[in-house]
Symmetry: C2
Subunit: 454 residues, 2 copies
């Protein structure tokens, strides 16, 4: 039995590991160190806090240090791990308040240091009112500044940018999103990314601008060192009272450079299916670890709160002597822009081609309920399957209808490599308030099957 477990990191995965460990082991010592002054919060909820759908930042906190203390888990705030010594099983911690450094020994170590913004190199990046969004304090700062702002610029065209755009639009700011690639949402096929762009622009024409193939080269500011303009490679000068850099994140693993803990893709920590790192007695969970993609059979890095929670739970079971395998991921993501659901699972048609699959696709636009029912919503689904194996490689879904239900219906079929022939006649429950007699996702499967097999 492990006597002393040290956990580094306080976002989602670390606290989840701690809580599950305690449920499995009433007696072991559990210490969690985090550089932040807050733990166990939902970073994914921050855009909704900024939008003011959620009023108080405390709402996003799942459990406080006091809650953990009741479970006899010691939380150490503002304590940053700066080094791991795997030989004598200690971690070096820096007290961010006093500046003191000290060592802590462990029997089992869990690294859950998450991800940090991967900042672009842009002149005058340190002007005031230029933010990233990762911590609760970031969210508070952005929300405060938003109240007195008229013009916002968001760098990057991923999910967080779209969620922030909703927040700013809802609060009557003009918003410009700047993406250096030729499309926003780069994991989607171009046609679907364009549909999202069209929806966003169409909903608030004049208020919202999306620039692609455009790079920010500099910010300019006023005498108070506040940002006032964003300057792009094509020479555009865009007024900005507030700027958010949402150009991506990278694993928070700089402190492991030169250690004997093996790193993988993007410097994420290599873990096996039991969440063990390359060093005995050291586990890693959450956004700092690599991920195995079950469709491509390649390692990837897709930091997601849901994966963090599952990995934390799984690692705790394994540390406790149980057996839990986290097999891998399917690149499943979802977000929304007002009423529009946006989701992709698996790989796009473009990626399938790049990876050497023989992909076929079907696009259907359908209502989500029987056509004669009130309040139906439409959705457009793009299902991608491999001609050779006749199995599903991915699905993209966009619409005001219930996309999530259809997306989720496909996921176990991707995992189980269900043949299209079986999937297209899948016995989904039917009632007019819930779906058409033949569900849109089955329509899409029928079309692909027909395209492949005639």
């Amino acid at each position: 039995m492990t006597e002393k477990v040290v956990i580094i990191g306080g976002g989602a995965a670390g606290p989840k590991t701690a809580a599950k460990l305690r449920r499995e082991n009433p007696d072991i010592k559990i210490d969690l160190y985090t550089q932040e002054d807050i733990i166990s919060y939902s970073a994914c909820g921050l855009p909704y806090y900024i939008e003011n759908i959620i009023q108080s930042p405390e709402t996003l906190i799942m459990r406080t240090p006091a809650d953990f203390q009741k479970q006899n888990i010691d939380i150490h705030l503002k304590q940053k791990c700066i080094k791991i010594n795997t030989d004598d099983k200690t971690v070096q911690i820096e007290d961010l308040i006093s500046g003191n450094k000290y060592e802590v020994s462990y029997n089992t170590l869990v690294i859950a240091t998450g991800a940090i913004p991967d900042l672009p190199n842009i002149s005058n990046r340190n002007l005031k009112n230029i933010y990233t969004l990762r911590t609760i304090q970031d969210g508070i700062n952005i929300k405060n500044k938003m109240q007195t702002s008229k013009n916002a610029v968001i760098l990057g065209g991923g999910y967080i940018s779209i969620e922030l755009m909703e927040a700013f639009v809802q609060n009557n700011l003009n918003v410009t999103l700047i993406e250096k690639n030729s499309q926003i949402l780069k994991m989607f096929d171009e046609d679907f990314a364009q549909m999202v762009t069209d929806y966003i622009i169409g909903r608030n024409p004049g208020q919202v601008t999306i620039l692609t193939n455009e790079e920010v080269v500099a910010f300019s500011g006023n005498e108070e060192k506040e940002v006032t303009k964003v300057i792009t490679s094509s020479g555009k000068e865009i007024n900005a009272d507030i700027v958010v850099l949402a150009t991506g994140v990278r694993p928070n693993t700089d402190f492991l450079q030169g250690s004997d803990i093996k790193l993988g893709i993007n410097n994420s920590i290599k873990v096996d299916k039991t969440l063990k790192t390359s060093k005995q007695g050291i586990y890693a969970v959450g956004d700092c670890t690599d991920n195995y993609n079950l469709i491509t059979n390649r390692y990837t890095w897709v930091p997601m709160g849901s994966t963090a929670n599952k990995e934390g739970r799984c690692a705790a079971i394994n540390i406790s002597g149980g057996s839990c395998f986290f097999d891998g991921i399917l690149n499943s993501t979802i977000t929304k822009y007002f009423n529009l659901t946006i989701s992709i699972i698996g790989i796009s048609y473009r990626e399938a081609q790049e990876l050497g699959f023989q992909p076929e696709f079907a696009i259907v636009t359908k209502r989500d309920k029987a056509g004669y029912m009130p309040n139906t919503g439409t959705m457009t689904l793009k299902l991608i399957a491999d001609k050779n194996t006749q199995t599903i490689l991915g699905i993209q879904g966009i619409g005001e209808g219930d996309v999530n239900q259809r997306i989720n219906t496909v996921i176990p079929a991707i995992l189980g490599k269900t043949k299209l022939e079986s999937f297209m006649n899948l016995d989904l429950p039917y009632s007019p308030p819930y779906s058409p007699a033949i569900d849109p996702v089955l329509n899409a499967a029928q079309i692909i099957y027909h395209k492949i097999n005639g």
Copy 2:
């Protein structure tokens, strides 16, 4: 190539077969005979028409005979098939208007005669204002009578009864539902049936009564032969201006008794996976056919509009020289009572025990979105898995939250016999407006896995 296809039956499966056949074959002759005066309608939408969510009965009609005529499909209304002569490949038809009988020859025959009410033997069943609900005319009659009624009695405790109860409650009638078994919704486990009962009663106490273990022995009427009371085996006399017999249906196959077309369970027509009957050149689709249950590996009879549509499509492909296999069903059903979604897939815990499985179950009550988001709904899920194979046997879901999404997530996993160990870490997309970080259905799987494996 088939030259002349005759289809008998005009509900969902027959018209679907006709339409798909025409798309696949521009040149063959297609004739559809139905005893009704209307075709291609959604019987599943009738309760919503009665409730007045849908105003006009025409809304439920997918395609009219004129629409079919444009596709060169001949629809013959009020023409009832009374006999099939498989030796000389003819069907005998009775013209219900003139009473004349005549023969029609076919190269390929498709039987799609659906199901008819299975009426209980009760004294004075022929009094006025005692209805069944199967055809559009039934719906019109019930809706008309409902307008002037105060007290409704529904016999039977299945989905249609619950949908009708909603319609009547919404239109301010007092409603009594009478079920002869010890619970309503007999495919559910008792605990879940009770939860539905409690919700129904709790929503409109005083207005709604559910009687179980109670059988109707007689109706009594007034001088105009209108029903006025329903009399039960325990001696209750319940006032009724309108009665609906929703005690179940049976395959409409009486005209096949004594023919050489093999019948199966409940006198449904035995079909193989290509929808062929035991006689060459004769297919059967929809509510009149038997169904193969992919979990129990037994034949069953579960008449569903979704299955009818899939079978019609599949049969048309096979008749056209293509290849389509309809492997079977998972007993998937869903309905609602106002905001409460009610769904079951696969088999219940009780049925799993009866069939010799080694079932384990988990019940979870969870919110459908991140807890801090507004407008979350709760749901209770009961997941059932087999200890030996560690695969899922079924799921029951009830709640005002998004049950359908979770139910659908389980279905391909049942089909694919996905192990619990894989399923419980399934990569479902997460975002606060769509689900908690660990989805309720994965929580349930984790609990069962833990119960089975420690």
